[in-house]
């Protein structure tokens, strides 16, 4: 405030704080970010499609119909049919359920582990930090595809194992992020103040440090979710992820990798490929918007 001769003692006469919470300001900034809003709209449509899949499917996504194999898109089959006569539109909307939930669950797992390990590491510092971060480095440096193939072949390929595998391999990024933030916040005087009040270390982590990294973690999680959807796609593409006949965008692509299909029936790979691209892109835009919105230093 400007240095006047005296600040009135009665606080009521002092300049009124505006009373807008940090979250209200962040929301305002987010909705000014056009691409992020577009991403939010697209993602909402994708999620609605997945949730309403049983209502908007036109055929069973699983049952074969050998009478109508490899048909081009038409009024009867909007996106055509695959080599066993299944309706591609119905499979796409059902696959959305699988792909989006794999993304969500995998990111939840990796965020949980990442925040836990990063938080402990950053708050404890010293030797504990050293040990946890070297462990994180090991997980990070491990060739993930080899690891995934091994785990998938040991546990057997299934949608739940896919979620789990992606989750336990992608946490190091979040752990490092949270650790860095905790290391810087723990030096702030409000942490010392909390100790001087008698707050326990656990409560300091949960109540004082964690709320300060929620923004960063949210952004990292959005990017992580886009990544997890891609990971699921590549796993399924390799035949290690979600197993037939359950459709996922990834294994639909895998089914479409023969030369004949690539050339002759492009609707089999264009549709799932487009869905993956749309989902990943829109989530990334949302993440971008959140990053700008949650940064208190951003001015616009």
């Amino acid at each position: 405030m400007i240095a006047t001769s005296s600040e009135p003692l009665a606080a009521g006469a002092e300049p009124m704080p505006t009373g807008e919470s940090l979250w209200a300001k962040a929301r305002k900034r987010f909705f000014r970010h056009k691409l992020a809003v577009l991403g939010l709209v697209v993602l909402t449509v994708l999620v609605l499609m997945a949730v309403l899949a049983p209502l908007i499917e036109r055929y069973s996504p699983i049952d074969l119909d050998l009478g109508s194999m490899s048909q081009a898109p038409s009024a009867a089959h909007w996106l055509g049919t695959d080599t066993t006569g299944r309706d591609v539109w119905s499979r796409i909307v059902h696959a959305g359920r699988v792909s989006l939930s794999v993304g969500l669950v995998a990111v939840s797992i990796s965020t949980f582990i990442g925040v836990l390990i990063g938080g402990i590491s950053g708050y404890a510092a010293g030797k504990v930090d050293m040990a946890l971060m070297r462990f994180t480095d090991i997980v990070m440096a491990f060739p993930s595809l080899v690891m995934i193939i091994t785990i998938a072949s040991v546990l057997g390929p299934s949608i739940y194992n896919t979620m789990l595998v992606i989750g336990i391999l992608t946490w190091p990024g979040i752990a490092r992020l949270v650790r860095g933030q905790f290391l810087s916040f723990r030096e702030q005087q409000f942490v010392l103040a909390a100790r001087s009040i008698g707050v326990t270390p656990f409560q300091i982590m949960v109540r004082h440090l964690f709320p300060n990294v929620v923004g960063t973690v949210t952004v990292a999680a959005t990017f992580g979710m886009a990544n997890a959807i891609l990971q699921e796609a590549s796993l399924s593409f390799l035949g290690l992820g979600v197993q037939a006949p359950t459709p996922s965008w990834g294994n639909m692509l895998q089914d479409a990798q023969s030369h004949a299909i690539l050339e002759g029936t492009p609707w089999l790979w264009i549709a799932p490929g487009l869905m993956i691209a749309l989902a990943v892109l829109s989530i990334n835009f949302i993440g971008d918007g959140l990053r700008d919105a949650l940064d208190p230093r951003s001015v616009h």
Binding site: S5, E7, A10, A193, R195, S196, T200, H208, P296
Partner: protein, 336 residues
């Protein structure tokens, strides 16, 4: 030497030492220690304000932090309420924190930006389970009024307030559990000059109203003179002079205190022209390797051979017979 027991002693600090290890090399071997606080003893009387002054790096803030065990002392005792704070275990320490609180220097980083004013002030009450939830909310409003904040701001966030208002929030948080001791670490040095006086006056008022005892850590000599009953001057991890405010300011007995006080500008231009600054030679020695004998001797205009060899103890010089003593750690105090 101990001060006369003319009042109740609230805290007795005995030979407090805080050393920070210096670690070198791959194996992190300890090659030395920074002796930030190196043998400090003083009593804090019930209801008084003790000003702790000295230049940057002399260990005054470290002393304050160690008194509240926000830093673990290397050795020494801090007797508060009949118990040695330095030897409490974590659980007892947390419980004892409601009796001793701290006001911080930086009103920006000392409040959690993600917590509302209400949740910041109510936290000590929640931690120590004082009163019912409804009583706690009432107490928060009462505290806000006490420090001159409008209670309707209870749901606002710290970034919406000015530095002075934020310092009031910090003060309300410190007062929430009705502590008897407040350690204030440079409470006004980060504030605008126009607001400093208000915060100091508020703290002085609160001391009278609530019967608080302050340890006022500061390099602001004018503020310390204004608010303190007694003053302790620190140099390089030691107290060099400790006595009632006016004798220390008017007739300082330690050469370092004289040099320090000569740096205070006077508002009266005529007297300011007459003011003679005592400019010390050299820099403050490295606290990892303090000089032999009297720590001040390399910079002291009065230093003699005895200063280089013998470490002077605090002794009473010129204290009134019925009052607290005037302690000075100087071989030549009589000649200053």
């Amino acid at each position: 030497m101990r001060t006369a027991e003319h009042k109740d002693v609230l805290v007795r600090v005995e030979d407090l030492k805080v050393h920070f290890p210096i670690l070198r090399g791959l194996l992190k071997r300890q090659v030395g220690a920074v002796r930030a606080v190196d043998g400090v003893s003083f009593d804090l009387f019930q209801g008084e304000t003790l000003g702790l002054v000295g230049e940057s790096g002399c260990g005054k803030s470290t002393t304050g932090l160690a008194m509240l065990r926000l830093l673990d002392p290397t050795s020494g005792r801090i007797v508060f309420g009949g118990r040695d704070v330095a030897s409490l275990d974590q659980r007892e320490l947390r419980a004892s924190r409601k009796h001793m609180q701290m006001v911080f220097q930086d009103p920006y980083s000392s409040l959690n930006p993600r917590m509302t004013v209400g949740s910041i002030i109510i936290e000590p009450l929640n931690v120590h389970k004082i009163g019912t939830p409804a009583e706690r909310r009432g107490r928060v409003q009462e505290l806000m009024r006490l420090v001159g904040l409008n209670p309707s701001f209870i749901n606002r966030y710290p970034h919406e307030f000015s530095g002075g208002q934020r310092q009031r929030i910090g003060l309300a948080r410190a007062l929430a559990t009705n502590p008897s001791l407040i350690v204030a670490d440079e409470p006004i040095s980060a504030l605008d000059v126009s607001i400093q006086a208000q915060v100091v006056n508020l703290m002085a008022d609160l001391r009278g109203q609530l019967g608080l005892t302050y340890l006022m850590v500061s390099h602001d000599l004018s503020m310390v003179r204004y608010i303190s009953d007694r003053v302790a001057v620190m140099y390089l991890g030691r107290i060099v002079e400790l006595g009632r405010r006016d004798p220390v300011f008017d007739t300082p007995r330690h050469p370092y205190t004289r040099a320090l006080l000569s740096a205070i500008p006077t508002p009266n231009p005529k007297r300011e022209r007459e003011r003679r600054r005592i400019v010390l030679q050299g820099d403050v020695p490295n606290p990892a390797n303090p000089p032999s004998g009297c720590r001040f001797h390399p910079r002291c205009p009065l230093a003699t051979d005895v200063c280089r060899e013998a470490d002077p103890a605090l002794r009473n010089i010129g204290g009134l017979p019925d009052g607290p003593p005037h302690l000075v750690a100087c071989h030549h105090a009589e000649n200053v």
